[in-house]
Symmetry: C2
Subunit: 534 residues, 2 copies
């Protein structure tokens, strides 16, 4: 099967920014004017090549790892370790901008295949070395910052060499993918066969197949193609207790509990996912994206609910609240502009992908339903603008941080009947914690028959202590989410940042089950300790 070249260490993101800095460009004038109006700029330090702590792993253990995966695949180089320090949350970026690389791994180990991973785990278990699986480095909830107390050191297990299309079953429409494949790489390998996966989260350019599975990622086409976990047919993992292979017999069955669902969302705490088998689809003949205007967020949300409950889902379905719609209009590189929802209200993006016939039929039915429900069609331009900018928001965040503006996102999910309460509670919590001039934007981008996600973007003056300011606001938002009876995360995962809010959601018995599974599969507790499990 085709294999993606892996000459380069993956990924090449600087620790203080998102993606390739050359791609980001300066802050657009429109946004500078806007944020200038909202809050004063402050002096958050710009990106700096700060020192990485020296590796703490004993030389004999380094030598032992070299014996396992080969000399050249055990890397102690500062630049490589710096790139694998934490993820890309705003707190991660702020800590690194402030010169704190305290969570740097001691060594980066690059296994070539499942057996390499298993051998590393066996070695690590024997010598009490922490292992943190590393894919794209796009974690935003502290999933790459394990507890290291009491361990001999921390290995960042970089899966960047495991990037092949392992198997393809075109009759069954399944493909088995290496965990280190980034989104575009996986799509490129499948496209050679006329197929696609269809998972496009905002982190698509960098995040990996293994990471999508380990965090229960959800992409921008989830309305049509489903959450990543729903695309997964089977998986293979290495654990300190040995190999796990699940889902290899069938799409679904009644052979007891579905153990795939224990590894999906396990965030490296139960094992290292070494292969993922997913449902694939033919490449779409047609892609059409368009805008719709709604008089209010509530009216647009009710329309989304009607589509979902009527089993009439387009491929992409997103709705910005009034604030996000207004901000987008001020961004020359984003949705909005001529012909868009210039009169205010809320912008919905509706996308259709598939065969010409299927898109025509679906579009006709959805258009009729949305028209009935009071929506105003805005044509293709807002849709095209959204497509052009769909992966750009994290780059803009760096430019805003450069000028002292604190920007972060957070997300949650609840049932439809609880949507308004949750929306109001989170907004109030963020505004209360961050004070006057705070901007809170929101969109719905993942829709189910029974509920929807809420994705918030927050911008506020960074102030003297931007990290502390944000952590306080984030805690207030988390408290509001729990008090509203919603989930602490729809698709960003638990990591270390949400761990303190998980118990109310799954209960003491749920936590006890997670601990029991962890004890069984990882008795020495070397796998990403401190992540996920309260």
């Amino acid at each position: 099967m085709t294999e993606i070249s892996h000459d380069l260490l993956q990924p090449e993101m600087p620790p203080t920014r998102w993606g390739d800095p050359a791609h980001a460009g300066p802050l657009p004038d429109g946004v500078r004017d806007l944020v200038g109006l909202v809050f004063p700029l402050s002096d958050t330090p710009a990106a700096a090549d700060v020192a990485v702590p020296a590796p703490q792993l004993a030389p004999d253990l380094v030598a032992g790892l070299r014996a396992v995966v080969g000399e050249e695949h055990v890397v102690l180089d500062d630049a490589v370790r710096r790139q694998r320090t934490r993820g890309k949350s705003t707190p991660d970026l702020l800590r690194q901008r402030a010169g704190d690389l305290g969570d740097a791994p001691d060594v980066v180990v690059r296994p070539d295949d499942h057996d390499d991973v298993q051998a590393v785990l066996d070695f690590a278990q024997q010598h009490r070395v922490v292992v943190v699986p590393f894919g794209g480095g796009t974690a935003v909830t502290g999933g790459l910052a394990p507890d290291r107390e009491g361990f001999a050191g921390v290995v960042s297990l970089d899966l960047g060499r495991m990037r092949s299309l392992v198997a393809l079953d075109p009759v069954s429409s399944t493909a088995t993918l290496g965990p280190g494949l980034r989104g575009p790489e996986a799509e490129a390998l499948l496209a050679e066969h006329g197929l696609m996966l269809g998972h496009f989260p905002q982190s698509f350019e960098f995040a990996t197949i293994g990471g999508f599975a380990a965090t229960r990622s959800s992409g921008q086409s989830s309305a049509g193609y489903g959450r990543f976990d729903a695309m997964v047919v089977g998986l293979r993992a290495a654990t300190p207790k040995g190999e796990v292979r699940l889902g290899g017999t069938s799409p679904s069955n009644a052979s007891g509990p579905d153990l795939r669902e224990l590894f999906l969302g396990s965030e490296g705490a139960f094992g290292v996912i070494t292969e993922v088998t997913v449902r694939v689809r033919p490449l779409p003949e047609v892609k059409e994206y368009e805008g719709w205007q709604w008089p209010s967020f509530a009216a647009g949300a009710d329309a989304m609910r009607a589509l979902a409950q009527g089993d009439l889902m387009p491929t992409v379905l997103r709705l910005s609240d009034e604030n996000e719609t207004a901000i987008n209009l001020a961004r020359p590189d984003a949705i909005g502009g001529e012909g868009s929802a210039g009169g205010g209200g809320c912008l919905m993006i509706v996308g259709y992908e598939g065969t010409t016939a299927a898109v025509a039929a679906k579009k006709a039915a959805v258009t009729a339903a949305l028209t009935d429900l009071g929506g105003t069609p805005l044509g293709a331009e807002p849709g095209q603008a959204w497509v052009a900018g769909r992966f750009n928001a994290p780059y803009l965040r760096d430019s805003l941080l450069d000028v002292g503006v604190l920007v972060e996102t957070l997300e949650t999910v609840t049932f439809w009947s609880n949507r308004e309460r949750l929306y109001a509670a989170v907004k109030a919590a963020l505004e209360g914690a961050l004070g006057d001039g705070t901007m809170v934007l929101c969109h719905i981008s993942h829709v189910y028959a029974t509920g929807c996600s809420l994705y918030f973007t927050v911008a506020a003056a960074g102030g003297e202590q931007p990290l502390e300011r944000w952590l306080k606001a984030k805690a207030a938002a988390n408290d509001a989410i729990v008090a509203s009876g919603a989930s602490i995360t729809h698709h960003h995962a638990v990591g270390t940042d949400h761990r303190g809010w998980l118990t109310p959601e799954i209960g003491e018995a749920g936590v006890a089950v997670l601990r029991a599974v962890k004890r069984e599969l990882d008795p020495a507790g070397i796998l990403n300790p401190g992540v996920l499990i309260p």
Copy 2:
């Protein structure tokens, strides 16, 4: 909320037959002629009111249970215990026809609510009493026949009093149902609100909501409404370690592993499911079922695959192989007759339910696709015949057993690319084990983008030792399923009958995880011991 009356003990099925014997009627002449041609009749004993072993539970423990749930809800009556002895597999029926009621519970306990269940579990754990949750008694894989060695006795925990609509959220389209509600009762409660669940397994008349969840049931409308586990939004369970509540925050999320999926399919081994929250739907305005003829099983299966992979699923989609199509034509009460696939080939039933507009659109698209694929439309009559007989097959089995014909069903699921291999292997295994004159029929009734179920019906002469004959044939079929790389069960669950074939499917690590969860939640091992876990 409305509550179904629970004056009667549930259900009132005799231990040796399916449902109400009055409903079954005599063996239709057509079938008698047919089976008469195929194999000779033998003298399997007819139903008999055989003796139930005396209760073994010590009087102080009976008294203790009475203190927990009330005097009148602890039943030692022979007739009541006889009805809760094992399930409704052909081996279950044969054992009971042969006078073996050795698996009878010592006592039937009828809790009224979650707290009652919790109190019973606490008592049972303390006194090492086995607890077997009992819903409709329709188990067909030995899930009601626990190991009792080393325990003080066996309680059949009859959930027949927990039959209310606990909560309804029409905005979110969810309903919370008591575990003891039978299929028609749940639908009746929802219909009062214009809603439905849409889960119609063959056991619909008797099986219960808790049982559907505990066994990952799949119904005849799974193409349109999904498997039962996919309908479940949340659940509540009592375990010896306390209450479990899962899924209460949201439709789906990234808050770690999905622990709902551990309780779905747990078959009473981890806890007793006391509430199930499901997605509900509006009652359909229109229901249309029709027949299609295909030149071969393979051609029909390819058409099903095309629909599933094209995301173009009707509500009901079933395909009989050549043998099953021919047999159905010989049954005056079942599918076939004038205008049906009289020319041979394979009969497909396609059903559409929903709003008038949605049914019209879906039917047009599916009809175009099936016509393109080479199908011949047979009109509404075969569809109506299927609807009329859809829950009748188990009654016919009793009539056949009465005249010495061994009849049983078994089912499996695999990926599309493995379907033909699996079909041939199971058929050969059954024919090889049962010898000349054996009839093996098959249909596909659950379809996924990546694969499908295969449901086999086997009929053979009972011979001198019908039970032993069948157990040998079933083992041969199970071996063939495992050797073919398929799942040991699509929707009948593991029970005790499939336990010996589970390890190849989920691996030693998977079994170790199940054991770890069991130890955590049920450290005394009182919950349905011997079921599910190898």
